[in-house]
Amino acid sequence: MHFEARVGHIGGNLSSLELMLTLHHRVMELDDQFILSKGHAAGALYVTLWSMGRLTEEQLATFHSDHTKLGGHPVPYGIPDIPFAIGSLGHGLGLAAGLALGRRLRGQPGRVFCLLSDGEWNEGSTWEALTFIAHRNLREVVLLVDLNGLQGFGPTAEVVNLGSLARKLREFGLEVREVDGHEPDAIEQSLRAPLGDRPLAVVARTVKGHGVSFMENKMEWHYLPMTAEQYRMAVEEASRL
């Protein structure tokens, strides 16, 4: 899909793919909602929705082309499974908090899962949302953090070092579970294990460009489209997984 559309962002899509697939196929129930705060992983979301039968093959083929509802970041044009257009980082967690609070006030069931990148913890608004969720004990929100360690122009540890995000989230009052973000069983277990009395954050250690050796942990795959040869190699490797 990314090859055919000649677009980048493949690295951050591959780091999130198992998280999104596992969440949608094994964890989410009818009343639940999903917010992709790291909007640049839109491709992985579209593929996940396609795998659920929520998007058609024909829709998927329009990715990144003219007259599409599947833009490079989720667009606000009425796909029911995508409540908000999100591209700018630091918006998703506040939106998820609002959706969850709305459910609470209206007495409606269901949870709101929000997938964040590690880079977007640079954004102050993400921390605003975190303190809001913790203060109100909004257990209807579940955070998933794709901790791939690379952001726009360098490793997260070198750009704005987060230290241990898991420890920080605990300090802010969340229940934190750490998992390998490429192990579906571990992801499922972390999300389905009984909740404590605090909102849950699953911090998933991931590899940017996961599954394709020449992409793994390489910052350029935040941006670059694939050549035909790279695409062939990537498909070959991924099919062996």
Partner: protein, 303 residues
């Protein structure tokens, strides 16, 4: 106007879709609303970006959230959240900015809102409501709730002259008739200018109009306003907002497009801080020629 806002919303607080968020402001004004709305009154803390995103989420969940703060802390601090989370999705989030224009006076420029509606009107789906008098607040609230779209309500201090009966609320209203220039006013400064113009002899007395909803829609300009313009030949627009993105600029554009330009056009707008000193709202208005006596001087100019 805060008191009447609170009073009006108290009456709405039992609606199943009511919810009110404040950015930790409203002391000595919003307590009655807090007491009635209970868990639907949310102090979101001093975190306006998150407050607007939360409001968008609430609106998506079927509620109609109000979001309150001092004006610049809403439209400037949380601009991207208003743009992406609220306006792109045409959600019924009602932003309330207290202290339009120079209303916060000597509290200083950080608290002023002199580019608020120009900034916001570039966004899709949003309507701006600028009550001129406290009596306008309840009907403006009624209209924005009926519209159920993104809204920004710009509040100020009521400056209604004593013994003046405010005509029923409408986006365009005529407050005074005469044979002088045609003046269009935006916001509470209308009160002082109205008081100054009332005693003038009919030959000098302006046709005084007040505009309370933006953007200026060419199709909604009343025919009687156009008739006043044609008769007087001189249009004066006065607003506590910078020229960029102003009602005056939008009206001039609309009149030009309609091939109905006035023979003479004068625009009085917020000019920032020319002296570099802080002062009261009146002080800043005087610096910009927005005060009643400055406007009266314009009336002696022949068209």
């Amino acid at each position: 106007m805060r008191a009447i806002l609170a009073k009006t919303l108290v009456a709405q607080a039992q609606n199943s879709d009511f919810v009110f968020l404040t950015g930790d402001l409203g002391f000595m004004a919003l307590e009655p609303l807090r007491d009635v709305a209970k868990e639907r009154f949310i102090n979101a803390g001093i975190a306006e970006q998150n407050m607007v995103s939360v409001a968008a989420g609430l609106a998506h969940a079927g509620l109609r959230p109000w979001v309150y703060s001092i004006a610049p802390f809403i439209y400037a601090r949380a601009f991207e959240q208003i743009r992406n989370d609220v306006c792109l999705h045409n959600l019924p989030v009602f932003l309330v900015g207290n202290g339009g224009g120079y209303a916060y006076g000597v509290m200083g420029p950080t608290h002023h809102a002199i580019e608020d509606y120009g900034t916001l009107l570039g966004l899709p789906n949003l309507t701006v409501y600028v009550p001129a008098f406290a009596a306008d607040v309840p009907p403006a609230i009624s209209r924005l709730m009926t519209a159920a779209r993104p809204a920004y309500l710009r509040l100020g201090r009521d400056e209604k002259p004593e013994n003046f009966t405010v005509p029923p609320y409408a986006p365009w209203r005529k407050l005074l008739s005469g044979e002088g220039a045609t003046i269009l006013l935006v916001g509470p400064l209308a009160g002082g200018i109205l008081a100054a113009a009332q005693p003038l002899p009919k030959s000098q007395r302006p046709n005084l109009w007040v505009l309370s909803e933006l953007p200026v829609m060419a199709t909604e300009i009343p025919a009687t306003f156009i008739a006043d313009l044609e008769q007087s030949g001189h249009l004066i627009v006065v607003e506590e907002h910078v020229a960029q993105g102003s009602a005056g600029a939008a009206l001039a554009h609309a009149l030009l497009c309609a091939q109905k330009p006035p023979r003479r056009f004068t625009h009085r707008f917020a000019c920032g801080y020319p002296s570099g000193y802080a002062g009261s709202q009146l002080y800043h208005r005087q610096e910009c020629g927005l005060d009643p006596s400055s406007i009266l001087k314009l009336l002696s100019i022949a068209p």
